[in-house]
Each structure stands twice: as C-alpha cells, then as structure tokens.
C-alpha cells in the first residue's frame, strides 16, 4: 500500500535533483530553493508519525552530507516531518482520510497549496535562520520568502506529476 519502490526512487530522484541541479543554479542570492523537502510533503497520508520522523531525518542527513552543511538540513527536515500530521489535520481535516497521498482526489487544491507552502516555509525559515544565525536579518527574511515561493511552485508541479505515477 505504501508503494515502497516508487518512494525509494522518488527519494533518490529528489536528492540528485537537489545536489546536481538546484544547488548549482545561481539565479540570485535570494532564490535558493531547497526542493528536496517535496519528499516529506508527499509521503503517504497514513504513514505513522514515527516513520515520518525517521524518513525526514534520513533525508536531512543525506542532504547534509551532499551539501556539506553538518546538521543544518537535518534540523529543518526533521522539524517538518514532525509537524506534518498536525499541519495536515489543521489544513485538510477529513478530506485526506481516503487518499493515499495528500494531493488530488477529494482534497481541495487550495488547501494542498496552503499545506505545502506552510511546510516549505517552516523548512526554509529554519534552514536559512540557522544558517545566518540572526545576521543580515532583512536579507535573510527576503531569502526565506522568495525561496519558499519558488520551492512551493516546484512542489505543486511535482505533486501533479507524482500523483499520476503513484495512483
């Protein structure tokens, strides 16, 4: 039911996309999408809190090794995995109960966008907040907002593609 093979491929794909593509794109210092968080957003709805946290931590550690950030990605990704069930209850309520992934079907697309944006924002705020540790405050806020926006757009596009593959 969990589609293990698809999720393993998805995991490898987002890690490679982040490491080889998004980490090398230099549009502007204010837009640095951390795309890989899409994996946590699109994990199965019924996945237990424990496994969410384990997979989130695993993803964070993998990205830490790949980006050389020593803990920064784990701080942000584990936190997103931890708050995901609460965010889902808050923003989607009963709509998600009969779906496998938190996108499509009975789910209102607007509530998915809000859900994705919220998780992405928390992730980016923790990541860039811890990275700058309070220096260049306005610049960091701008970076968080613009990067979250870019990542959210990418997450929504990926969700559409991913649903077609998984369902």
């Amino acid at each position: 039911m969990y589609r293990v093979v698809e999720y393993v491929i998805f995991f490898v794909a987002v890690v490679l996309l982040q490491a080889l593509l998004f980490d090398n794109l230099l549009f502007s210092s204010l837009i640095m999408p951390l795309y890989y968080v899409v994996f946590v957003v699109l994990l199965p709805v019924k996945m237990s809190h424990f496994w969410l946290l384990v997979l989130g931590t695993l993803l964070g550690v993998t990205m830490d090794v790949s980006m050389g950030t020593a803990g920064l990605n784990t701080i942000a990704t584990a936190a997103v995995a931890f708050i995901r069930p609460m965010t889902m209850n808050l923003l989607m309520g009963k709509d998600v109960a009969h779906e496998n992934i938190p996108y499509g079907g009975a789910i209102d697309p607007r509530s998915f966008i809000l859900f994705a944006a919220m998780l992405v924002f928390v992730h980016h705020a923790l990541f860039y907040g811890f990275e700058s540790l309070g220096s260049h405050f306005l610049y960091t806020v701008g970076k968080i907002v613009l990067s979250s926006l870019a990542t959210t757009i990418l997450v929504v596009l990926t969700a559409r593609l991913f649903r077609r593959i998984v369902e």
Partner: protein, 275 residues
C-alpha cells in the same frame, strides 16, 4: 503498567524528535570548516563525475574569453622569464631555487550564495594536491585555498566564506591587515585592523602578504570604501575582489615548498594562529 506503556507510546515520537534536533543542532554548532569540507569530499565521490561533465559543457561557452586571458598571461610570464634569465645569467640569484610549484585544475562545483562557500576542483591526492595550497584564478587573483582532498577531488575554501582569513596589505603603502568576508556579497570583502592613519584611498590595490598558504604580492582586489571604525582607532576597508568567484573555471594551484616549515615556525609562538 498499561497506563505507563500508553504514556510511553504517546511521548515516544516527540521524544525521538527532540533527540534528533538536539543531535543535529549540536553537530551543526560544533562543525568547523573542516567538518563541512570533509562532508563535501565524501559526497564528491558520488556527484563529482556528474558535476565534472556538466562543467565541461559549460566550459565551451567561456573558451573564447579564457583564451584571451591565457594569451595575455603567457605574454606577462614570458616577460618575467626573460628578466629572470637575464638576472640568473649575471649570477645575482640562484637559478632553479623556486619556492613555489604551480599546477592547474578545473572547478567542477562552486557556490557563492551561502554563508560558508566552498568550491570543488577535479584534482586530488593522486595529483599531489594537498591542504593549504593557494588557489588563484588564471589572471593570478586570489580565489581561496585547498581545505581537504579525496583521491581525485579537493574541496577548497572560497574567499567568500565566513571562516576565510588571510593577510592583505596595500600595494603602495605596505600597511597590513586581515581579509575577512561578512557573508553579504561575494564580490566584496573587508580588510580589518588597519590603523586609522594608514593612507588608503579609493582604488588602491590590495595584495596578499606571505603566509604558509599564499604567495606574496598576489592581487586580492581594490579598495572600494574607506571609513574609520567606531572607536576611531582602526579603519575599515571594503575591498572589491579582483576574482569573480561566481565564474571560476580554470584555477592555478600554488604549493609553497617551505609551507610546513613556515607554519611550524609560526605556531611555536602563535598558538592561536588559524585553525
């Protein structure tokens, strides 16, 4: 007993979450540049080859401008060589006694927008690259130094890294200070600890002082802003980097043959000198 297991079940996940976060935060806060470079060196084993092939496609687009730079550089070096030979023939310096070895490499992965930026080059221990070799652009501008090596790749500390330090001085007035980056803009660094009476002006060239990493007299950048600090004791200089760190491709690696000796000698009376 049943209650206890219920409670344990409820708090297990939040507890695990707290443990993960504490471990991650302590790891992050204790990480030095060396830890980060080590992590990058590990992942380069996997992504290095792909990055290298991306880099070689990108390299075609800059061939023309690079050729111009290289030709110009050859001219300058020929001129230097000529004077050197002339001097050597007259017996004024010992010929063949060169303290620096030069080699070249390509940058295959680079970043400039993080707070701690590193770049990766396609030469490693197999090519006799070792930590603390200076990295210069083909025009001889300072770009960084080697931090850690794997067999075939090396991770270098970019000038645009908040842990980067080196000595810098005015080309015309010899006043020395230390170069540091504040995490803001990868085109500018600061020159700190310059006495307030030092006669700097906008447009002055800042060059490297000799250290176990860097050869002397390499151009770092030019002075862009000049202001005295709050206590009026020191001046604060903003230096525009000569090297464009976002477009590193070919780089020169400089090995100082007396580097270890130099470092050892200094560490005996400067225990705090550079991590």
């Amino acid at each position: 007993m049943y209650r206890l297991t219920l409670i344990l079940k409820r708090i297990a996940v939040p507890l695990l979450f707290i443990v993960v976060e504490i471990l991650a935060i302590s790891k992050y806060s204790s990480a030095t540049s060396f830890t980060r470079a080590r992590l990058l060196a590990i992942s380069n084993g996997v992504t290095g080859a792909v990055n290298e092939s991306f880099g070689s496609v990108g390299a075609y687009f800059s061939l023309r401008s690079e050729n111009d730079v290289l030709t110009q550089r050859i001219l300058e070096l020929e001129a230097q060589l000529a004077t050197r030979q002339e001097v050597a023939e007259r017996g004024e310096v010992e010929a063949g006694n060169v303290p620096y070895l030069f080699s070249q490499a390509r940058v295959i992965k680079n970043s400039v927008f993080a707070q701690y930026n590193y770049f990766t080059i396609n030469k490693g221990r197999m090519d006799d690259v070792e930590p603390n070799m200076a990295v210069l652009t083909p025009d001889g501008f300072v770009a960084g130094y080697v931090l850690d090596c794997s067999e075939r790749y090396s991770v270098c500390m970019s000038v645009a890294n908040r842990d980067f330090t080196m000595g810098g001085k005015g080309k015309n007035n010899e006043f020395m200070g230390s170069i540091a980056w504040n995490g803001d803009n990868y085109r500018r660094v600061n020159l700190e600890n310059i006495p307030h009476y030092a006669p700097f002006a906008k447009g002055d060239t800042i060059i490297s002082t000799i250290s176990y990493r860097f050869p002397p007299d390499r151009i770092i950048g030019i002075v862009e802003e000049f202001e005295s600090s709050e206590d009026k004791m020191n001046s604060h200089l903003t230096v525009r980097l000569a090297a464009d760190l976002s477009r590193l491709d070919r780089v020169l690696l400089v090995k100082f043959l007396g580097g270890e000796e130099f470092k050892e000698l200094h560490s005996t009376y400067e225990p705090e000198e550079e991590k």
